[in-house]
Protein backbone atom coordinates (compact mmCIF):
# COMPACT_ATOMS: atom_id res chain seq x y z
CA UNK A 1 0.00 0.00 0.00
CA UNK A 2 2.88 2.44 -0.40
CA UNK A 3 4.48 3.88 -3.54
CA UNK A 4 1.42 4.46 -5.61
CA UNK A 5 -0.20 6.86 -3.13
CA UNK A 6 2.88 9.04 -3.00
CA UNK A 7 2.80 11.80 -5.54
CA UNK A 8 5.07 14.54 -6.75
CA UNK A 9 6.77 16.95 -4.37
CA UNK A 10 5.34 20.46 -4.55
CA UNK A 11 7.42 23.14 -6.15
CA UNK A 12 7.31 25.37 -3.09
CA UNK A 13 8.33 23.17 -0.19
CA UNK A 14 9.68 20.25 -2.08
CA UNK A 15 7.91 18.13 0.51
CA UNK A 16 6.44 14.80 -0.38
CA UNK A 17 2.73 14.82 -1.05
CA UNK A 18 0.09 12.20 -0.33
CA UNK A 19 -3.15 11.84 -2.18
CA UNK A 20 -5.93 12.42 0.34
CA UNK A 21 -8.98 12.52 -1.93
CA UNK A 22 -9.40 11.15 -5.45
CA UNK A 23 -10.85 13.37 -8.14
CA UNK A 24 -14.20 11.59 -7.94
CA UNK A 25 -14.34 12.05 -4.18
CA UNK A 26 -13.57 15.74 -4.56
CA UNK A 27 -16.15 16.13 -7.32
CA UNK A 28 -18.86 14.54 -5.20
CA UNK A 29 -17.86 16.62 -2.21
CA UNK A 30 -18.13 19.86 -4.15
CA UNK A 31 -21.37 18.99 -5.90
CA UNK A 32 -22.66 18.22 -2.45
CA UNK A 33 -21.25 21.44 -1.01
CA UNK A 34 -22.75 23.62 -3.74
CA UNK A 35 -26.10 21.87 -3.38
CA UNK A 36 -25.99 22.28 0.39
CA UNK A 37 -25.18 25.97 0.09
CA UNK A 38 -28.12 26.51 -2.24
CA UNK A 39 -30.40 24.56 0.08
CA UNK A 40 -29.10 26.50 3.06
CA UNK A 41 -29.67 29.92 1.53
CA UNK A 42 -33.10 29.12 0.07
CA UNK A 43 -34.08 27.26 3.22
CA UNK A 44 -33.18 30.29 5.31
CA UNK A 45 -35.27 32.48 3.00
CA UNK A 46 -38.24 30.21 3.72
CA UNK A 47 -37.37 30.02 7.41
CA UNK A 48 -37.45 33.66 8.39
CA UNK A 49 -38.79 36.86 6.80
CA UNK A 50 -35.55 38.62 7.78
CA UNK A 51 -33.73 36.52 5.19
CA UNK A 52 -36.49 36.39 2.56
CA UNK A 53 -34.34 38.66 0.37
CA UNK A 54 -32.15 35.61 -0.22
CA UNK A 55 -35.03 34.21 -2.27
CA UNK A 56 -34.54 36.99 -4.82
CA UNK A 57 -30.81 36.32 -4.97
CA UNK A 58 -31.43 32.60 -5.44
CA UNK A 59 -33.43 32.99 -8.63
CA UNK A 60 -36.65 34.50 -7.31
CA UNK A 61 -39.16 33.15 -4.79
CA UNK A 62 -41.13 30.97 -7.23
CA UNK A 63 -38.02 29.50 -8.83
CA UNK A 64 -36.52 28.89 -5.43
CA UNK A 65 -39.56 26.92 -4.28
CA UNK A 66 -39.38 24.87 -7.48
CA UNK A 67 -35.65 24.26 -7.37
CA UNK A 68 -35.10 23.63 -3.65
CA UNK A 69 -36.55 20.07 -3.72
CA UNK A 70 -34.65 19.11 -6.87
CA UNK A 71 -31.37 20.39 -5.46
CA UNK A 72 -32.31 18.49 -2.32
CA UNK A 73 -32.36 15.29 -4.35
CA UNK A 74 -28.91 16.05 -5.76
CA UNK A 75 -27.68 16.74 -2.25
CA UNK A 76 -29.16 13.52 -0.87
CA UNK A 77 -27.76 11.51 -3.77
CA UNK A 78 -24.22 12.80 -3.24
CA UNK A 79 -24.48 12.08 0.48
CA UNK A 80 -25.57 8.57 -0.40
CA UNK A 81 -22.62 8.20 -2.77
CA UNK A 82 -20.15 9.49 -0.21
CA UNK A 83 -21.65 7.09 2.30
CA UNK A 84 -20.87 4.20 0.01
CA UNK A 85 -17.34 5.48 -0.51
CA UNK A 86 -16.49 6.50 3.05
CA UNK A 87 -18.56 4.35 5.36
CA UNK A 88 -15.58 2.15 6.19
CA UNK A 89 -13.44 5.21 6.95
CA UNK A 90 -16.23 6.61 9.11
CA UNK A 91 -16.43 3.57 11.39
CA UNK A 92 -15.30 4.20 14.94
CA UNK A 93 -11.89 2.84 15.95
CA UNK A 94 -10.79 2.12 19.53
CA UNK A 95 -8.76 5.35 19.67
CA UNK A 96 -11.88 7.44 19.02
CA UNK A 97 -13.10 6.96 22.56
CA UNK A 98 -10.08 8.72 23.96
CA UNK A 99 -10.30 11.36 21.26
CA UNK A 100 -13.87 12.13 22.24
CA UNK A 101 -12.90 12.24 25.89
CA UNK A 102 -10.15 14.73 25.15
CA UNK A 103 -12.13 16.87 22.74
CA UNK A 104 -11.63 19.90 24.95
CA UNK A 105 -7.87 19.54 24.58
CA UNK A 106 -8.34 19.25 20.81
CA UNK A 107 -10.32 22.48 20.77
CA UNK A 108 -7.54 24.17 22.74
CA UNK A 109 -4.87 22.72 20.42
CA UNK A 110 -3.22 20.58 23.12
CA UNK A 111 -2.82 17.98 20.41
CA UNK A 112 -0.03 16.12 22.24
CA UNK A 113 -2.68 14.36 24.38
CA UNK A 114 -4.80 13.34 21.38
CA UNK A 115 -4.62 9.72 20.24
CA UNK A 116 -3.41 9.04 16.66
CA UNK A 117 -6.24 9.06 14.14
CA UNK A 118 -7.12 7.26 10.94
CA UNK A 119 -8.17 8.82 7.62
CA UNK A 120 -10.84 10.81 9.46
CA UNK A 121 -10.63 11.82 13.08
CA UNK A 122 -13.43 11.16 15.55
CA UNK A 123 -14.77 14.70 15.16
CA UNK A 124 -14.98 14.37 11.40
CA UNK A 125 -16.81 11.10 11.89
CA UNK A 126 -19.31 12.80 14.15
CA UNK A 127 -19.80 15.51 11.57
CA UNK A 128 -20.33 12.89 8.89
CA UNK A 129 -22.90 10.89 10.83
CA UNK A 130 -24.80 14.02 11.85
CA UNK A 131 -25.01 15.04 8.20
CA UNK A 132 -25.86 11.51 7.09
CA UNK A 133 -28.77 10.96 9.45
CA UNK A 134 -30.03 14.54 9.17
CA UNK A 135 -30.01 14.19 5.38
CA UNK A 136 -32.18 11.12 5.69
CA UNK A 137 -34.67 13.01 7.88
CA UNK A 138 -34.56 16.05 5.59
CA UNK A 139 -35.16 13.85 2.56
CA UNK A 140 -38.18 12.08 4.02
CA UNK A 141 -39.78 15.25 5.42
CA UNK A 142 -38.79 17.18 2.31
CA UNK A 143 -40.58 14.79 -0.02
CA UNK A 144 -43.75 15.16 2.05
CA UNK A 145 -43.40 18.95 1.88
CA UNK A 146 -42.76 18.80 -1.85
CA UNK A 147 -46.28 17.54 -2.60
CA UNK A 148 -48.58 18.50 0.28
CA UNK A 149 -51.51 18.40 -2.16
CA UNK A 150 -50.99 14.64 -2.47
CA UNK A 151 -51.21 14.05 1.27
CA UNK A 152 -54.65 12.67 2.20
CA UNK A 153 -56.72 14.96 4.35
CA UNK A 154 -56.88 12.35 7.14
CA UNK A 155 -53.16 12.72 7.81
CA UNK A 156 -52.86 16.47 7.27
CA UNK A 157 -52.01 16.74 10.97
CA UNK A 158 -48.63 15.35 9.92
CA UNK A 159 -47.79 18.45 7.88
CA UNK A 160 -47.03 20.89 10.73
CA UNK A 161 -44.88 18.26 12.46
CA UNK A 162 -43.11 17.54 9.18
CA UNK A 163 -42.30 21.19 8.55
CA UNK A 164 -41.11 21.60 12.13
CA UNK A 165 -38.84 18.56 11.95
CA UNK A 166 -37.47 19.67 8.56
CA UNK A 167 -36.55 23.11 9.95
CA UNK A 168 -35.14 21.78 13.23
CA UNK A 169 -33.06 19.16 11.43
CA UNK A 170 -31.78 21.76 8.99
CA UNK A 171 -30.68 23.89 11.96
CA UNK A 172 -28.69 20.95 13.33
CA UNK A 173 -26.91 20.58 9.98
CA UNK A 174 -26.21 24.33 9.97
CA UNK A 175 -24.50 24.06 13.34
CA UNK A 176 -22.41 21.17 12.02
CA UNK A 177 -21.79 23.03 8.75
CA UNK A 178 -20.45 26.12 10.53
CA UNK A 179 -17.94 24.02 12.47
CA UNK A 180 -17.01 22.02 9.35
CA UNK A 181 -16.31 25.06 7.20
CA UNK A 182 -14.49 26.84 10.00
CA UNK A 183 -12.29 23.84 10.81
CA UNK A 184 -11.36 23.10 7.24
CA UNK A 185 -10.61 26.65 6.15
CA UNK A 186 -9.17 28.23 9.29
CA UNK A 187 -8.20 25.68 11.93
CA UNK A 188 -6.36 23.07 9.89
CA UNK A 189 -4.63 24.85 7.00
CA UNK A 190 -4.13 22.43 4.15
CA UNK A 191 -7.57 20.81 4.49
CA UNK A 192 -9.25 22.96 1.89
CA UNK A 193 -6.32 22.49 -0.45
CA UNK A 194 -6.67 18.73 0.10
CA UNK A 195 -10.32 18.84 -0.91
CA UNK A 196 -9.61 21.00 -3.97
CA UNK A 197 -6.28 19.67 -5.25
CA UNK A 198 -6.44 16.27 -3.60
CA UNK A 199 -3.02 16.30 -1.90
CA UNK A 200 -1.63 16.89 1.56
CA UNK A 201 1.96 17.13 2.68
CA UNK A 202 3.45 14.24 4.54
CA UNK A 203 3.89 16.31 7.68
CA UNK A 204 0.22 17.37 7.50
CA UNK A 205 -0.79 13.74 7.30
CA UNK A 206 1.50 12.77 10.18
CA UNK A 207 0.23 15.60 12.35
CA UNK A 208 -3.49 15.15 11.84
CA UNK A 209 -3.94 11.53 10.75
CA UNK A 210 -1.01 9.52 12.03
CA UNK A 211 -2.62 6.09 11.62
CA UNK A 212 -3.75 6.87 8.10
CA UNK A 213 -0.29 8.13 7.24
CA UNK A 214 1.30 4.98 8.60
CA UNK A 215 -1.16 2.77 6.81
CA UNK A 216 -0.81 4.24 3.34
CA UNK A 217 2.93 4.87 3.43
CA UNK A 218 3.82 1.72 5.29
CA UNK A 219 6.10 3.77 7.54
CA UNK A 220 6.18 3.92 11.31
CA UNK A 221 6.09 7.16 13.29
Amino acid sequence: MSGSTLVRPTAVTGEEQLQRYTFVERAYHWINAIAYTYLLLTGLALFTPILYWLAYVMGGPGTMRWLHPWVGLVYAFTIWWMHGKWKRDMKAIPQDEQWNKNVKAYIQHHDEVMPPQERFNAGQKQFWWIMFYCTFILLVTGIIMWFPERIPREIHWLLPITVFIHSATALITIAAFIVHVYMSIWVTPGSTKAMIEGNVSVSWARTHHRLWYERITGRKG
Binding site: I107, I174, V187
Partner: protein
Amino acid sequence: MSNGLLEIKAISGHRGGTPGKGVSRDYDVCKLVDTTTCIGCKACEVACLEWNGYEFRETTFDNTYQTMPETAWNFWNLIKFNEVETDNGLQWLMRKDQCMHCEEPGCLIACPADGAIVQYTNGIVDFNQANCIGCQYCVTGCPFNIPKFNAATKKVYKCTLCSDRVGAGLEPACIKSCPTGCLHFGSKEDMLALANKRSDQLKRETSHKNAGVYDPDGVGGTHVIYVLHDKDKPEQYGGLPKDPRVPFFVKMWKGPLKWLGGVGMIAGVFGVFMHYVRYGPKEVDKQEEVKR
Protein backbone atom coordinates in the same frame (compact mmCIF):
# COMPACT_ATOMS: atom_id res chain seq x y z
CA MET B 1 -65.67 50.61 4.94
CA SER B 2 -64.13 52.74 2.20
CA ASN B 3 -63.67 55.66 4.60
CA GLY B 4 -62.22 53.33 7.17
CA LEU B 5 -59.27 52.55 4.92
CA LEU B 6 -57.94 56.09 5.20
CA GLU B 7 -58.87 56.72 8.78
CA ILE B 8 -55.96 58.14 10.72
CA LYS B 9 -55.00 56.19 13.79
CA ALA B 10 -51.89 58.07 14.89
CA ILE B 11 -49.94 61.16 13.82
CA SER B 12 -46.20 61.72 14.15
CA GLY B 13 -44.90 64.71 16.12
CA HIS B 14 -48.41 65.65 17.08
CA ARG B 15 -49.32 66.78 20.59
CA GLY B 16 -52.68 65.79 21.93
CA GLY B 17 -55.27 63.45 20.52
CA THR B 18 -55.86 62.41 16.97
CA PRO B 19 -58.53 64.58 15.35
CA GLY B 20 -61.41 62.57 14.01
CA LYS B 21 -60.45 59.43 15.89
CA GLY B 22 -63.50 57.46 16.84
CA VAL B 23 -65.83 59.66 14.81
CA SER B 24 -66.71 56.89 12.47
CA ARG B 25 -67.40 53.44 13.82
CA ASP B 26 -64.54 50.95 13.66
CA TYR B 27 -65.89 47.68 12.54
CA ASP B 28 -64.91 44.22 11.47
CA VAL B 29 -66.93 42.67 8.71
CA CYS B 30 -68.56 39.32 9.31
CA LYS B 31 -70.64 36.74 7.49
CA LEU B 32 -73.35 35.01 9.46
CA VAL B 33 -74.48 31.60 8.22
CA ASP B 34 -77.64 30.36 9.88
CA THR B 35 -77.53 26.62 9.24
CA THR B 36 -81.07 26.27 10.57
CA THR B 37 -82.54 28.16 7.63
CA CYS B 38 -80.25 26.91 4.86
CA ILE B 39 -82.18 24.84 2.31
CA GLY B 40 -79.13 23.67 0.36
CA CYS B 41 -80.14 25.42 -2.87
CA LYS B 42 -76.48 26.17 -3.73
CA ALA B 43 -77.28 29.62 -5.08
CA CYS B 44 -74.24 30.84 -3.10
CA GLU B 45 -72.03 28.28 -4.88
CA VAL B 46 -73.10 29.63 -8.26
CA ALA B 47 -72.88 33.28 -7.22
CA CYS B 48 -69.34 32.68 -5.93
CA LEU B 49 -68.25 31.17 -9.24
CA GLU B 50 -69.89 33.90 -11.24
CA TRP B 51 -68.46 36.80 -9.31
CA ASN B 52 -64.99 35.34 -9.17
CA GLY B 53 -65.01 34.41 -12.85
CA TYR B 54 -64.63 30.66 -12.59
CA GLU B 55 -66.41 28.28 -14.92
CA PHE B 56 -68.50 25.63 -13.28
CA ARG B 57 -66.11 22.76 -12.82
CA GLU B 58 -66.55 19.02 -12.88
CA THR B 59 -68.46 17.75 -9.90
CA THR B 60 -68.16 14.54 -7.93
CA PHE B 61 -71.20 12.42 -7.23
CA ASP B 62 -70.88 10.47 -4.00
CA ASN B 63 -74.52 9.59 -3.28
CA THR B 64 -75.24 12.90 -1.59
CA TYR B 65 -76.49 16.28 -2.71
CA GLN B 66 -73.04 17.71 -2.16
CA THR B 67 -71.39 19.16 -5.27
CA MET B 68 -67.96 17.73 -4.43
CA PRO B 69 -66.17 16.34 -1.36
CA GLU B 70 -64.39 19.56 -0.45
CA THR B 71 -63.74 23.06 -1.76
CA ALA B 72 -61.33 23.41 -4.67
CA TRP B 73 -58.92 26.05 -5.91
CA ASN B 74 -61.64 27.30 -8.27
CA PHE B 75 -64.62 26.40 -6.07
CA TRP B 76 -64.45 28.36 -2.83
CA ASN B 77 -67.96 27.99 -1.53
CA LEU B 78 -69.43 24.54 -0.93
CA ILE B 79 -72.61 23.46 0.82
CA LYS B 80 -71.83 20.41 2.91
CA PHE B 81 -74.72 17.98 3.30
CA ASN B 82 -74.89 15.55 6.16
CA GLU B 83 -77.57 13.21 7.50
CA VAL B 84 -77.65 12.68 11.25
CA GLU B 85 -79.79 10.40 13.39
CA THR B 86 -81.23 12.19 16.39
CA ASP B 87 -83.76 11.28 19.10
CA ASN B 88 -86.35 13.15 17.08
CA GLY B 89 -85.61 11.30 13.87
CA LEU B 90 -83.42 12.05 10.89
CA GLN B 91 -81.86 15.48 10.65
CA TRP B 92 -80.53 16.79 7.37
CA LEU B 93 -77.76 19.29 7.97
CA MET B 94 -76.48 21.76 5.42
CA ARG B 95 -73.58 24.09 6.00
CA LYS B 96 -71.96 26.60 3.72
CA ASP B 97 -68.26 25.82 3.87
CA GLN B 98 -65.72 28.49 2.93
CA CYS B 99 -62.76 30.36 4.38
CA MET B 100 -63.54 31.35 7.97
CA HIS B 101 -61.34 34.47 7.91
CA CYS B 102 -59.81 33.77 11.31
CA GLU B 103 -58.75 36.60 13.56
CA GLU B 104 -55.57 34.58 14.13
CA PRO B 105 -55.03 33.15 10.62
CA GLY B 106 -52.91 29.99 10.60
CA CYS B 107 -52.31 30.39 6.85
CA LEU B 108 -50.81 33.84 7.30
CA ILE B 109 -48.70 32.79 10.28
CA ALA B 110 -47.25 29.85 8.35
CA CYS B 111 -46.71 31.68 5.04
CA PRO B 112 -43.05 32.51 4.26
CA ALA B 113 -43.71 34.65 1.17
CA ASP B 114 -43.65 38.40 1.65
CA GLY B 115 -47.09 39.82 0.94
CA ALA B 116 -48.71 36.60 -0.29
CA ILE B 117 -51.33 36.73 2.47
CA VAL B 118 -52.72 39.89 4.02
CA GLN B 119 -55.22 40.51 6.76
CA TYR B 120 -57.18 43.73 6.47
CA THR B 121 -58.22 45.73 9.50
CA ASN B 122 -61.79 44.72 8.71
CA GLY B 123 -60.85 41.08 9.32
CA ILE B 124 -60.69 39.78 5.76
CA VAL B 125 -57.78 37.41 5.13
CA ASP B 126 -56.84 37.61 1.48
CA PHE B 127 -54.34 35.78 -0.73
CA ASN B 128 -52.29 37.72 -3.23
CA GLN B 129 -51.33 35.16 -5.85
CA ALA B 130 -48.72 37.47 -7.39
CA ASN B 131 -46.56 36.89 -4.32
CA CYS B 132 -47.49 33.26 -3.72
CA ILE B 133 -44.67 30.77 -4.24
CA GLY B 134 -46.80 27.63 -3.98
CA CYS B 135 -45.09 26.13 -0.94
CA GLN B 136 -48.47 25.40 0.66
CA TYR B 137 -47.35 26.18 4.18
CA CYS B 138 -50.77 27.90 4.40
CA VAL B 139 -52.35 24.47 3.95
CA THR B 140 -50.21 23.34 6.86
CA GLY B 141 -51.40 26.22 9.04
CA CYS B 142 -55.13 26.14 8.25
CA PRO B 143 -57.35 24.24 10.70
CA PHE B 144 -60.31 24.38 8.29
CA ASN B 145 -58.79 22.75 5.17
CA ILE B 146 -59.45 25.82 3.04
CA PRO B 147 -56.43 26.89 0.93
CA LYS B 148 -56.28 24.83 -2.25
CA PHE B 149 -53.36 24.39 -4.62
CA ASN B 150 -53.62 24.79 -8.37
CA ALA B 151 -51.03 22.48 -9.91
CA ALA B 152 -51.05 24.43 -13.20
CA THR B 153 -50.35 27.89 -11.79
CA LYS B 154 -48.47 26.59 -8.70
CA LYS B 155 -50.41 29.00 -6.51
CA VAL B 156 -52.93 28.64 -3.74
CA TYR B 157 -56.45 30.05 -3.83
CA LYS B 158 -59.36 30.51 -1.47
CA CYS B 159 -62.41 32.62 -0.67
CA THR B 160 -61.59 36.34 -0.52
CA LEU B 161 -64.77 37.20 1.37
CA CYS B 162 -65.32 39.20 -1.83
CA SER B 163 -62.76 41.76 -0.66
CA ASP B 164 -63.19 43.47 -4.03
CA ARG B 165 -66.93 43.86 -3.45
CA VAL B 166 -66.63 44.72 0.23
CA GLY B 167 -64.02 47.35 -0.62
CA ALA B 168 -66.59 48.98 -2.88
CA GLY B 169 -69.27 48.90 -0.22
CA LEU B 170 -71.07 45.83 -1.54
CA GLU B 171 -71.98 42.65 0.28
CA PRO B 172 -70.23 39.40 -0.75
CA ALA B 173 -71.72 37.60 -3.78
CA CYS B 174 -72.89 34.58 -1.75
CA ILE B 175 -74.84 36.81 0.63
CA LYS B 176 -76.50 38.63 -2.23
CA SER B 177 -77.71 35.39 -3.79
CA CYS B 178 -79.21 33.72 -0.71
CA PRO B 179 -82.97 33.31 -1.18
CA THR B 180 -83.86 32.29 2.38
CA GLY B 181 -82.05 34.97 4.29
CA CYS B 182 -79.90 32.37 5.96
CA LEU B 183 -76.83 34.42 5.02
CA HIS B 184 -76.22 37.80 6.60
CA PHE B 185 -73.41 40.28 6.28
CA GLY B 186 -72.45 43.21 8.49
CA SER B 187 -70.18 44.15 11.36
CA LYS B 188 -68.95 41.39 13.63
CA GLU B 189 -70.77 43.02 16.53
CA ASP B 190 -74.08 43.17 14.69
CA MET B 191 -73.75 39.65 13.31
CA LEU B 192 -72.95 38.23 16.74
CA ALA B 193 -75.98 39.98 18.19
CA LEU B 194 -78.17 38.63 15.41
CA ALA B 195 -76.71 35.14 15.79
CA ASN B 196 -77.31 35.13 19.52
CA LYS B 197 -80.84 36.38 19.03
CA ARG B 198 -81.50 33.59 16.58
CA SER B 199 -80.00 30.88 18.79
CA ASP B 200 -82.04 32.16 21.76
CA GLN B 201 -85.12 31.95 19.61
CA LEU B 202 -84.26 28.38 18.60
CA LYS B 203 -83.80 27.37 22.20
CA ARG B 204 -87.02 29.05 23.25
CA GLU B 205 -89.33 28.10 20.43
CA THR B 206 -87.97 24.87 18.95
CA SER B 207 -86.65 21.53 20.09
CA HIS B 208 -83.06 22.66 19.45
CA LYS B 209 -82.40 23.32 23.12
CA ASN B 210 -78.66 23.28 22.60
CA ALA B 211 -78.58 25.73 19.71
CA GLY B 212 -75.66 28.11 19.70
CA VAL B 213 -73.22 30.30 17.83
CA TYR B 214 -69.95 29.02 16.31
CA ASP B 215 -67.24 31.66 16.69
CA PRO B 216 -64.23 29.58 17.81
CA ASP B 217 -61.95 31.20 20.39
CA GLY B 218 -59.01 28.96 19.47
CA VAL B 219 -58.30 31.11 16.41
CA GLY B 220 -59.32 34.36 18.11
CA GLY B 221 -62.82 34.23 16.64
CA THR B 222 -63.70 34.13 12.98
CA HIS B 223 -65.20 36.55 10.49
CA VAL B 224 -67.60 33.88 9.33
CA ILE B 225 -69.85 32.65 12.12
CA TYR B 226 -72.54 29.99 12.23
CA VAL B 227 -75.76 29.42 14.07
CA LEU B 228 -75.87 25.67 14.75
CA HIS B 229 -78.75 23.47 15.89
CA ASP B 230 -76.40 21.89 18.38
CA LYS B 231 -73.40 23.97 19.30
CA ASP B 232 -71.63 20.99 20.91
CA LYS B 233 -71.56 18.94 17.73
CA PRO B 234 -70.01 21.13 15.02
CA GLU B 235 -68.25 18.05 13.55
CA GLN B 236 -71.53 16.69 12.24
CA TYR B 237 -71.82 19.66 9.87
CA GLY B 238 -69.37 18.16 7.41
CA GLY B 239 -66.34 18.28 9.66
CA LEU B 240 -66.44 21.71 11.25
CA PRO B 241 -63.71 21.41 13.92
CA LYS B 242 -64.88 21.71 17.50
CA ASP B 243 -61.86 23.59 18.76
CA PRO B 244 -59.86 24.81 15.77
CA ARG B 245 -56.41 26.16 16.52
CA VAL B 246 -53.35 27.17 14.62
CA PRO B 247 -51.43 23.85 14.82
CA PHE B 248 -49.09 23.66 17.80
CA PHE B 249 -46.09 22.79 15.64
CA VAL B 250 -46.74 25.73 13.33
CA LYS B 251 -46.61 28.02 16.36
CA MET B 252 -43.45 26.34 17.64
CA TRP B 253 -41.84 26.59 14.24
CA LYS B 254 -42.77 30.23 13.64
CA GLY B 255 -42.09 31.15 17.26
CA PRO B 256 -39.39 29.56 19.45
CA LEU B 257 -37.65 27.62 16.68
CA LYS B 258 -37.27 30.66 14.44
CA TRP B 259 -35.95 32.69 17.35
CA LEU B 260 -33.66 29.95 18.61
CA GLY B 261 -32.39 29.18 15.11
CA GLY B 262 -31.56 32.81 14.38
CA VAL B 263 -29.75 33.38 17.66
CA GLY B 264 -28.03 30.00 17.37
CA MET B 265 -26.67 30.69 13.89
CA ILE B 266 -25.32 34.11 14.86
CA ALA B 267 -23.84 32.67 18.05
CA GLY B 268 -22.29 29.80 16.09
CA VAL B 269 -20.57 32.03 13.56
CA PHE B 270 -19.42 34.43 16.26
CA GLY B 271 -18.34 31.49 18.41
CA VAL B 272 -16.01 29.99 15.83
CA PHE B 273 -14.62 33.44 15.07
CA MET B 274 -13.83 33.91 18.78
CA HIS B 275 -12.24 30.47 18.82
CA TYR B 276 -9.89 31.60 16.07
CA VAL B 277 -9.13 34.82 17.90
CA ARG B 278 -8.33 32.86 21.07
CA TYR B 279 -6.59 29.73 19.71
CA GLY B 280 -5.80 30.35 16.08
CA PRO B 281 -4.96 27.56 13.64
CA LYS B 282 -3.43 24.19 14.41
CA GLU B 283 0.29 23.97 13.61
CA VAL B 284 1.56 21.24 11.38
CA ASP B 285 4.49 19.58 13.08
CA LYS B 286 7.36 19.89 10.59
CA GLN B 287 10.19 19.46 13.11
CA GLU B 288 10.39 15.73 12.76
CA GLU B 289 12.12 15.10 9.50
CA VAL B 290 10.35 12.60 7.35
CA LYS B 291 12.37 9.47 6.88
CA ARG B 292 12.76 8.59 3.25
